[in-house]
Amino acid sequence: MDWHQLWEIASAPDNVPIVGMIPLLFFYIYLAWKQAKANDELIGELETNPAMAKTHHRKTWPFRPGWQKEVHVWPFLLRIEFLAAIIVTIVLMIWSITLYAPLEEPANPNLTMNPAKAPWYFLGLQEMLVYFDPWIAGVVMPTLIIIGLMVIPYIDTNPLGSGYYTWKQRKFAIGTFMFGFIVLWVAMIIIGTFIRGPGWQWFWPGQTWDHNRLIYEVNRDLPDLFGITSNLAKGIFGAIVVGGYFAAGGFLVHAFFRRYNPKDYKRMSLLQYSIMQFFLLTMVALPIKMALRLALHIKYVWITPWFNV
């Protein structure tokens, strides 16, 4: 275990936000989960005993005479927000005194730094470049992510769960978010920060980042495994595989969604439903492709003269 190396990575001013992000992420998930659990219990009680709704307000506390039905934002909310603002100011001030901007030497066009890393918030995108060709990872995927985020309000037909934490009422939405944001986005940032060393090679935490390290890693394209040589055949083969994935995946998702989420399914139009299917399958394709690459050394599945998937 090379603690020196680990400390060097963790203490680099560039990486401090990421190191800080990890506990914060767990903390806020825990907090949200705790509140969601309490709310879900209350929802359960209210559903069985509608009379309770008259004696309970503010979700958690039972009603008491003399309590105000509603409290004002000022001062009751703002005083807490202001306290939070002070604490954040303290953190920022101490941070700026103790850690300097990570400036480096003037850029040298003849010498590329190794590893050359994007700013931390783009490390996820950079990690995607390992699995897809630049056009897909750099242009298509980011565009789809943005469009997908924009589309959410239009395909989300579930009226419940706004304004309070709940798991029971929004299992699908929250599950998808947890998967897409925490497993895919945050995990890829952590991989990019802690795992990727010189030559963008995979170093487990605690392994020394040796610039001279050589590893045997030959990636093959999926059509090659099947002995397909002509470009046309490769294109057709890839299209069939990718199409097959979307078709099979679509049926699988359809089966589960209808079974476990029948209310939403009923509320959604065909257009909403198929858009949801497309984005969900595209998102799930990313970890599948990662697994294919990391475990089976498969470079591309679909090869065309214009793009590779």
């Binding site: 009751f76 002070i86 010498l111 001279n212």
Partner: protein, 1082 residues
């Protein structure tokens, strides 16, 4: 939440956050103050430095001041100063009454002027404003009305109240006149005051000048000034900003004492009560080389161009010194500080300051002498092959151009014949003629280029011997033993250890043996070894070569140690080598790329003769390499003497040559090809001339800008991480470990310095732990350097940087200083400094030898002022043939009495030109030299001069050679007949007046003449004819010597008789002894 008890009061409304707020605010305020402190001090550590500086420097100045006061007191006690003081008092007494009057008058006038001025400037401002309005008014009527306003205004009357209370009224014009009148009056009074005070100020100036002249250190007044400056100092960034070179250096914000006029040491800057100097004391010292700052004014050069570091950074010592990961030019370590010189002075072999003992100068010598440029290109080193390449390309180009021209001319003529009109025909003909003329120009150019290549061919030298000659030269069985580890045979050799395997050794020696010349050298008669030893020790061989090993070693390290020469050498070849090392076995034609033999000459019916006069290829007319590419000169010995020396050297052995194991594998033809591969692989041809590899390129990386190579490009291999973390010293071999200048690594060494030092100490260190094939291993051989040498070379490499400074900062002078640079290259190339002293204080190798300690007059002449001394045209002739004679060459031309021989270096025309210009430039002599006319003496003057020259009181003829063989045996100075051509008359006169000033330690006596009534008079008893002679006796003597003819010399010698020569007047002899002792060069 049924389980939770429900509070009485609504917690959202009633919960108090007061404590939270108190705690948060306290922390916020604390961090605010922390931020303020950080802003004022944390980020500005130089403030603390400056405050410390104020305290410590003031304390230092106080002690310095009391010392200075004491010495000033001593000065003011002297009668001279008293006299000056008295004069001052008298002058001020005399001037006092008038001075007081004038000062009072001036004060009165000033008050009056002020009173008038107050009113006048106010009115004038108003008038000017109206004036402006008139000027810019467009309508004529408006102009008129405003003009009227102005005129009215100027007629108004205003009151001026004078200081004494009385008032007066003036209009505008009167006011102006009054004002000017008062001012004129005051100027007059001021001028008079100056006149009155003149003697007083003059006297006071004399007083302070006297103090300044007679005090060694600063005067109390000066120190008082420094104290005042220090106490009034407000902490601020001290910055040198040179916009043209993009230099912003804030180093002096902490290093406050660096330019102070007093010498500050760390000890003197240590705070009271402290024992050891702390970081402040170390920072406050003065610059250790103030002389360097004089030539490199910090206001123009800043600090970082020489020292590097981050001149702009002020937040911490590490940042400012650039000692952090992302600053690419960290401060040069103290031990390698001279690396900074190299960044601008890479073209200088000897830095201009001329001081001896500079690490960087030693490093340059080392780099050259060890033959580093055989494998590594370095801009400026070993440039002859590159120049030669350029020249031969130009020749080819010109020849091609000529051919094209001929073709085109013929074409044009044809067109002219077929032209339609006469005009066209003439035009085309003219063009053809022009082409023919340009061809004749090209012919001239080609000839010049041929001369160039002749010179360059002569200048081209190799560090190692010519291996084409090994069959003639060497004991065959010795070769594999040598290759195994050269230092085992000869510890001081330049030949490095290549770590060859036995098989590689066999293959390499087989290739070298089989590709060498098979001609046999002429047989030589055995010589007299005892006489040879004497010659070896006296002819000057030891200036370059050494003999004896360990403590017994004697002589120079420029060339090989000859202690075991007898084991390896072939006697016949050795004789030829000593007689003339440049003599080649066969000439080499670079055009055909092969060595020519007698058959090539026979084909053309030419005699098989090749030397500098016969240097053209019989086959294609190109310049041949007709010399061995060695710097070893010819000592112009007779063949017998060469045989004697060779016989002596053959006795130098520890074992018999026959004791070496048989190496008959060297004749195995199967090994030859493999051997060639290894010879090429290891770049042997970088230092040696090897058959078939005359045009081999260098195998190493270029080092010109090695210091600025990104650290990522330096391959630490498996030691990258250990070097970064300082966890492991890779060198384990104790011999190599001992080479590290600072011992085994104690901390991180992942920097250029660490890389170079380890690489030089053990060149294959970065192969350690790697699995590599024979051809992949690092090839750099172990140069068996010592600590000092590695430190010097590291300094050299660290300074080998691509400078960010503008070209004007690089020292590449085009004037005579450039001549000096080029000259040093040649002087160092041939090791001239082994025999001659060029710089005062420089030690020559011969000076250190025991045989010269007793009789220093046998040392070769010092060349301190050679350029001022000799006629450059004569110098050129002398350098090309130091015997100064075509027939009688086995002697010294100027100083036949010296046993040590000025060798014939067979300099090329280029080198002769450069050397002559070098000597001229070194003595600041103008080029070209126009000789001074020596006047013709009258018969009477000649008689006088002769009588002086030959008088027993003047010892000239005792030491100087006269051409009489019997006398010349004991002569210790050159013949006067040479003076006319050789010397410059003005120098000769300076020489006879004070030779010690020109060449300290010379045996030429000083004090031959003394100054009497503005005239140089001979110091001994003058002959009677000198009565009433008013010109300088010294000048007369010099003129006489410059007009001396052989007949005259014979006549004088005859008239004197030999016996008289040694009978010198005792008084002069004594003077001579005093002068020689006073010179103190020994």
């Amino acid at each position: 939440m049924a389980e939770q008890p429900i509070p009485e009061q609504d917690p959202v409304v009633t919960k108090s956050y007061a404590l939270h707020y108190v705690v948060a605010m306290v922390i916020l305020m604390a961090s605010l103050f922390w931020a303020l402190w950080d802003e004022a001090f944390g980020q500005r550590p130089w403030k603390t430095f400056q405050n410390e500086w104020k305290q410590r420097y003031t304390a230092f100045l106080k002690t310095a001041e009391s010392k200075s006061e004491k010495s000033q007191k001593d000065v003011t006690q002297t009668p001279e100063y008293r006299q000056l003081e008295q004069a001052f008092n008298q002058a001020s007494e005399a001037a006092r009454s008038r001075r007081d009057e004038l000062q009072k008058g001036i004060a009165d006038l000033s008050a009056k002027i002020l009173a008038v001025q107050n009113v006048f400037t106010d009115k004038r401002a108003f008038a000017n404003a109206i004036n402006y309005e008139i000027e810019t008014e467009t309508s004529a009527s408006g102009k008129k009305s405003k003009q009227k306003d102005l005129d009215d205004y100027k007629k108004e009357q205003w009151t001026v109240e004078y200081p004494d209370g009385h008032k007066e009224k003036y209009n505008f014009q009167q006011l102006e006149e009054k004002y000017n009148e008062l001012k004129d009056e005051r100027t007059k009074l001021n001028a008079e005051l100056g006149e009155v005070l003149k003697p007083v100020t003059a006297a006071s100036t004399l007083m302070s000048a006297y103090i300044n002249e007679h005090m060694v250190d600063l005067t109390p007044a000066q120190i008082e000034g420094l104290k005042k400056k220090t106490s009034e100092w407000d902490p601020k960034i001290v910055q040198i900003n040179v916009a043209e070179a993009n230099i912003v250096d804030r180093c002096e914000s902490c290093h406050m004492g660096i330019r102070e006029p007093l010498k500050l040491t760390a000890a003197s800057m240590t705070a009271k009560g402290e024992k050891k100097p702390d970081e402040y004391a170390d920072a406050f010292v003065s610059h250790p080389e103030p002389a360097l700052l004089k030539t490199h004014d910090p206001d123009k050069f800043g600090c970082s161009p020489c020292h590097q570091g981050n001149g702009r950074a002020t937040t911490s010592v590490e940042k400012a010194h650039g000692n952090y990961e992302h600053w690419l030019w960290p401060l040069f370590p103290k031990r390698n500080a001279e690396a900074g010189c190299q960044t601008c002075h890479s073209a200088d072999m000897v830095l201009v300051s001329g001081d001896v003992g500079w690490t960087i100068s030693e490093a340059k010598d080392l780099f050259r002498q060890k033959g580093c440029m055989g494998c590594h290109r370095y801009e400026g080193y070993d440039k002859e092959p590159e120049d030669l390449n350029t020249v031969s390309q130009q020749i080819k180009q010109s020849e091609g151009q000529k051919k094209d021209n001929i073709k085109e001319a013929a074409d044009l003529m044809k067109q002219a014949d077929a032209a339609e009109s006469n005009e066209d025909a003439n035009r085309l003909n003219d063009k053809a003629i022009a082409l023919k003329v340009s061809n004749s120009k090209l012919d001239g150019r080609i000839q010049q280029l041929d001369f160039q290549s002749h010179s360059l061919m002569q200048d081209m030298k190799k560090v190692g011997p010519n291996l084409k000659d090994i069959r003639l030269k060497l004991n065959k069985n010795w070769i594999p033993v040598w290759l195994k580890k050269p230092t085992d045979f000869r510890p001081t050799t330049k030949m490095p250890n290549f770590r060859l395997t036995d098989h590689q050794i066999q293959a390499i020696s087989a290739y070298l043996w089989q590709s060498a010349f098979t001609d046999a050298p002429p047989k030589q008669k055995p010589g007299n070894a005892a006489h040879g030893k004497e010659l070896f020790e006296t002819r000057g061989c030891l200036a370059c070569h050494s003999i004896g090993q360990g403590d017994q070693m004697m002589g120079g390290v420029f060339a090989a140690n000859l202690t075991r020469e007898g084991e390896k050498a072939n006697y016949d070849y050795l004789v030829r080598w000593i007689h003339n090392a440049r003599q080649r076995t066969r000439p080499y034609c670079p055009y055909e790329k092969r060595d020519l033999g007698p058959e090539d000459y026979a084909k053309k019916g030419l005699p098989y003769q090749f030397d500098l006069e016969h240097s053209q290829c019989p086959n294609d007319g190109h310049e041949l390499q007709v010399q061995n590419m060695t710097v070893m000169p010819s000592l112009r010995l007779s063949v017998e003497d060469a045989q004697d020396i060779a016989s002596f050297l053959m006795t130098q052995k520890r074992q018999e040559p026959s004791a070496y194991a048989d190496a008959s594998f060297m004749d195995d033809p199967k090994l030859k090809d493999e051997g060639k591969k290894w010879v090429r692989h290891y770049g042997c041809a970088g230092c040696h001339e090897i058959s078939g590899m005359e045009d081999e390129g260098r195998i190493g990386t270029e080092l010109t800008y090695e210091g600025s190579k990104p650290i990522e490009r330096l391959d630490f291999a498996l030691f990258t991480v250990p070097a970064e973390r300082g966890t492991q010293e890779p060198i384990t071999d104790p011999e190599d470990l001992a080479r590290l200048p600072e011992g085994p690594a104690k901390g991180p060494w992942y920097d250029h310095k660490g890389f170079f030092e380890h690489k030089l100490a053990e060149p294959n260190v970065y192969d350690k732990g790697k699995i590599k094939s024979e051809t992949e291993t690092l090839r750099m051989p172990n140069l068996h350097l010592n600590k000092e040498q590695i430190q010097a070379l590291t300094t050299f490499l660290l300074g080998s940087e691509e400078s960010s400074l503008p070209d004007s900062y690089q020292y590449k002078p085009g004037d005579s200083r450039g001549d000096i640079q080029r000259g040093w290259w040649i002087v160092k190339k041939y090791n001239c400094m082994g025999c001659h002293q060029f710089i005062p204080g420089q030690k020559t190798i011969l000076m250190g030898l025991p045989q010269y300690r007793e009789n220093p007059e046998q040392l070769p002449p010092k060349l301190l002022t050679e350029g001022a001394r000799v006629d450059p045209e004569w110098l050129r002739r002398f350098l090309s043939n130091p015997a100064l004679s075509e027939a009688d060459t086995n002697r010294n031309g100027v100083r036949p009495y010296l046993k040590v021989r000025m060798p014939t270096f067979s300099f090329s025309d280029n080198e002769l030109r450069a050397l002559v210009r070098f000597f001229q430039a070194l003595s600041q002599q103008p080029i070209p030299y126009i000789p001074e006319q020596v006047p013709v003496l009258t018969a009477k003057e000649t008689d006088m001069a002769r009588s002086l020259f030959s008088s027993t009181a003047a010892p000239c003829l005792k030491c100087h050679a006269t051409g009489d063989p019997q006398h010349d045996k004991i002569a210790t100075a050159p013949n006067f007949l040479l003076a006319k051509e050789r010397l410059k008359p003005d120098w000769a006169e300076r020489w006879v007046l004070d030779p010690q000033a020109i060449s300290p330690g010379t045996s030429m006596p000083s004090g031959l003449f003394r100054r009497e009534n503005n005239q140089w008079v001979f110091a001994g008893p003058t002959p009677p004819s000198f009565q009433g002679y008013t010109k300088d006796h010294s000048r007369l003597l010099v003129d006489y010597i410059f007009r001396l003819t052989p007949e005259e010399q014979r006549r004088v010698a005859a008239s004197r008789g030999r016996t008289g020569a040694s009978n010198v007047t005792p008084s002069i002899q004594k003077q001579a002894a005093v002068a020689a002792g006073g010179g103190g060069s020994r």
